[in-house]
Amino acid sequence: MSDHLLSLRRVSCNYGAVQALNDVHLKVDAGEIVTLIGANGAGKSTTLKAIVGLLRPEAGEILFEGNSLLRIPTHKIAAMGIALVPEGRAVFANLSVLENLEMGGYLRNTAEIRQGLEYVFALFPRLQERIKQVAGTLSGGEQQMLAIGRALMAKPRLLLLDEPSLGIAPLLVKSIYEAIDAINREGVTILVVEQNAHLALKHSHRAYVLETGRVVMEGSSRELENDPRVKEAYLGEV
């Protein structure tokens, strides 16, 4: 049971009076890219927030490498090897690009930070060009690169991405998803939440479909891409 890298068992979560997650089961194995698709408000972001402890479930269990995350504070979950790229990117707009990346490597030593910077700049050369720039002045796509780079500075084993394509120019979306594939090939396990189902299914191994807080379908991404219900509801094909 606990040989999955991450597993959610019967997780229920409320936002005030509204039930955001209802009995959610989900597992992610080491090396995978798993995607969570669904409409706005289906509970995708809530799932990620619950994993990193920014929201606490009312019921259920969340295990990372067999250890429960439910009572661990967020900054210690980060130290366990889970990094989240939040929705809307949440870069530190008042800090420079370099300082943002340094914050990403907050728990690492100087040598590891240097290695991390080399890796991130190889992945996103644009960030190196803007190294001294204040993050708030970057374009949306550049901020997304910075947010991903900042998460990678922690050298996570599990990378959680919340809507990486949201509000970004199509050309940049493509290069961001190529970067996500490249990160995965380096051995980082990825759980990505995405409204753009086409893109998400194309760049993942397995997928879950969420509807009003429940998992209504799961399977390999190839299967789901061809499933008539998914096609109709999420891929805009009839």
Partner: protein, 299 residues
């Protein structure tokens, strides 16, 4: 002309005190979006810690300079500890409650400290010892005291130190990250509780330094001395743009100058009124403060 320059010197000396105290308001607001109304009382405690530690140390050391530095360090450390306790015991338990809750707690805490201080130290003013003997320095017809110079130099050194800390150290960068986005900072593995605690410690230590510097010039100290200074430093922080460190320094200097000019050229009856006139004007015409960014509050 001489009178004018004289007022400028007095104003800068007074303004650097306001700046030191205003820094605590602005830093705490930065990380917690909270006006810590007990901050003025920490400044008062700084003066009293200085008073008691100088009584213990007096005559035991060869040099009055070393004595002054020691008194300052003891008082700053004491207030840093008090600041951390205030955060831990009064504000942390209600951090997730509405802002009104923590505001009311802040006001109640301020009253509590003032009244406890009257109980413990006594309500009568105490005479703060002259740590460094006062000397008049004549500078082309201007009358300066060595105390005024010490105030400005020490305040400048502390502010430069704070600036270096906030902009060039890992903890300082973490503090700026926390003040921009608390949750995102947690995701980096930053222990945000520790950062908030450190912010209270630093702000309180600066207030303690302010308390001692003031008492060197105006030696009567009493448990309510922090009320007016605290309010004025708060006005200085709002004037400069609350949450902005340079704004607090600028606001402090402007307020100090405004006050000495009103007292010097108008009437000293109105010297306290000018701070509140400035507060009303800034809230009416530029509520985000001189250096503040007009950020839309997210609800």
């Amino acid at each position: 002309m001489h009178a004018f320059l004289q007022q400028i010197i007095n104003g800068i000396s007074l303004g650097s005190i306001y700046a030191l105290v205003a820094l605590g308001y602005t830093m705490v607001y930065g990380v917690m979006r909270l006006i810590n109304f007990a901050h003025g009382d920490v400044y008062m405690l700084g003066a009293f810690f200085g008073y008691y530690s100088s009584r213990v140390l007096h005559g035991k050391l060869q040099s009055s300079l070393i004595e002054t530095i020691l008194v300052m360090i003891v008082s700053m450390l004491g207030c840093a500890l008090i600041g951390m306790l205030i955060e831990r015991l009064a504000y942390r338990p209600v951090r997730k409650a509405s802002r009104l809750t923590s505001l009311i707690i802040a006001i109640g805490l301020s009253l509590l400290i003032e009244n406890l201080a009257q109980l413990i130290f006594g309500a009568d003013p105490k005479f703060f010892p002259q740590l460094i003997p006062e000397k008049q320095i004549a500078l082309g017809g201007l009358s300066l005291t060595n105390q005024q110079i010490i105030v400005v130099v020490v305040a400048l050194l502390l502010m430069a130190g704070l600036n270096a800390f906030v902009f060039y150290t890992k903890s300082g960068k973490a503090m700026r990250a926390v003040s921009f986005n608390l949750d995102a900072a947690k995701l980096m593995g930053i222990n945000t509780n520790a950062v908030i605690s450190l912010t209270f410690a630093l702000g309180s230590a600066l207030a303690a330094a302010g308390g001692i510097l003031v008492s060197m010039n105006l030696p009567g100290i009493d448990p309510l001395m922090g009320v007016m200074t605290g309010l004025k430093a708060f006005v200085a922080a709002v004037l400069g743009g609350i949450g902005n460190i340079f704004g607090a320094v600028l606001g402090g200097l402007i307020l100090g100058l405004a006050e000495t000019f009103v007292a010097g050229y108008g009437s000293s009856t109105y010297r306290d009124a000018i701070a509140f006139l400035i507060l009303i004007a800034i809230l009416l015409f530029k509520p985000e403060g001189l250096l503040g960014k007009g950020q839309v509050e997210k609800v």
